[in-house]
Amino acid sequence: MASNENTESKTYLPAGMPAPEPTRDGLDREFWEAAKRHELVVQKCNSCGTFQFAPEWICHKCHTLDLKWHRVSGAGRIYSWERVWHPAHPALKSACPYIVVVVELPDAANVRMVGNLLGNPKIDVAFDAEVEAIFEDHPEGFTLIQWQIAPR
């Protein structure tokens, strides 16, 4: 069985995956800090309202440098998905298969995020299925944004 069904592990993928750190220039510090507070934030332009993820230093639409972090609800929709069978990273050797999803955020102009779909990795995922963000705290001190099918 895949180790992501192992009850000892509280994280979807096993320990040993690369840990995300904010960039040294500070661009995405607030994203990772918010995740630790169990808040999901994306960039929003103070001038024209354009949403951006991943973060940039400038609004790609109106080119102001005046961007802020905007908290979203955590509601998402499956835009694409895949089941990974080949472990590209040594930590994944006993973790396959697992499911990667691309999720659109309808309350942030459908910017997308990548995550895992929690639960049985053998299921077929429906496109456009509604999902919700789950904050997965890791012992190393960072928090990942994961997704699960939203309760009807």
Partner: protein
Amino acid sequence: MSEFTIKDKTAIAGLGETQYYKRGAAPVSEFRLALEAIQRAADDAGIPVTAIDGIASYSNDRNDSIRVATALGLPELRFTNMFWGGGGGGGSGAIGNAAAAIVAGFATCVVVYRALAQGQFGRFGATPSMRTISGPIAYTWPYGMSTPAQWIALRTRRFMYDHHITQDPLAAIAMACYHHAQSNPRAIMYGRPLTRQAYDDSRWIVEPFHLYDCCLENDGAAAVIVTSADRARDLKQKPVYIMASAQGSDFRQGAAAENGPDYATSNFKTLAPRLYAMAGIEPRDVDVAQVYENFTGAVMTSIVEHGFCRPDEVMDFCTFENLTAPNGKLPINTSGGNLAECYMHGLELIIEAARQVRGTSTCQVKDAEISMVVSGPMVAPVSDLILRR
């Protein structure tokens, strides 16, 4: 015709390849392989290697231009250029840059090369083991989404969903490449035909890609000599004229965490019209195409974006019969390509496109006049190329 075009002003005059090896099996260093391929391309053109005065490459080639120029004793290096971006996106663009340098008068004879020895260096398909990561990769790698196979599978899946496409076109593309390799003794997969059953039975790498949907990883080197059309006519080989080349990217295709607005594009929607306009031809004029197969899904979307069929026609168009030489509507990857000949980051595809124009392919398309190359689909930037007799 606009003064600002490279159309028909330059030609491919020389082709050079080392033997192609399985990954890690090259008996000599990567740099030596590069030198051997360049020497062979010069020999093929019938020029001394010291006639080379320009160097263009792509995909962060490790074999520095100045090191190559020094080793070969080039009297005067007049043009040195690297196409940005990884993977195979810059293959056609490097040829285009070589042509542009010649038209601009920067150089007279430019070599484009690529060398790979993965025993000496690392693998492409494996993810480096870093303890912490930052920036764009931090939004994907912790979720086990770190390889080209994984991002191209996600985009292919969406395209298949949007256009009601089954596994069949992907299988047909893989089988066409393997079929062509059976006539090519240089091919790594020569003597190893692929049946649909074997395709279906092969392990998943990442759905919807089986093992056979994914490129090889190999050792070897390839080189192409580009010079002015006038000069090429006086050289040993029949000139392969460079009709057109385009390079670049669509709107915000570099947006991290899968945020390219046109999600499932092969990234040729803005390039293909420019390419055809420069060449002054239409898709129906193309006799044969070499389409970079990092993964079959990106070949499928490239065929669509170069106008050979609409998305809703993929199931009918992308069949084994249509994609195979000599009689298919659009024979692709007639040497076996990245899937079955050798993964030389697509420079071997450019060499095969030139062979088709010369009439020397092992899967020759009858009377092939116009030969296309598509480099690096679903990466950014990408490039493409049209050659003619």
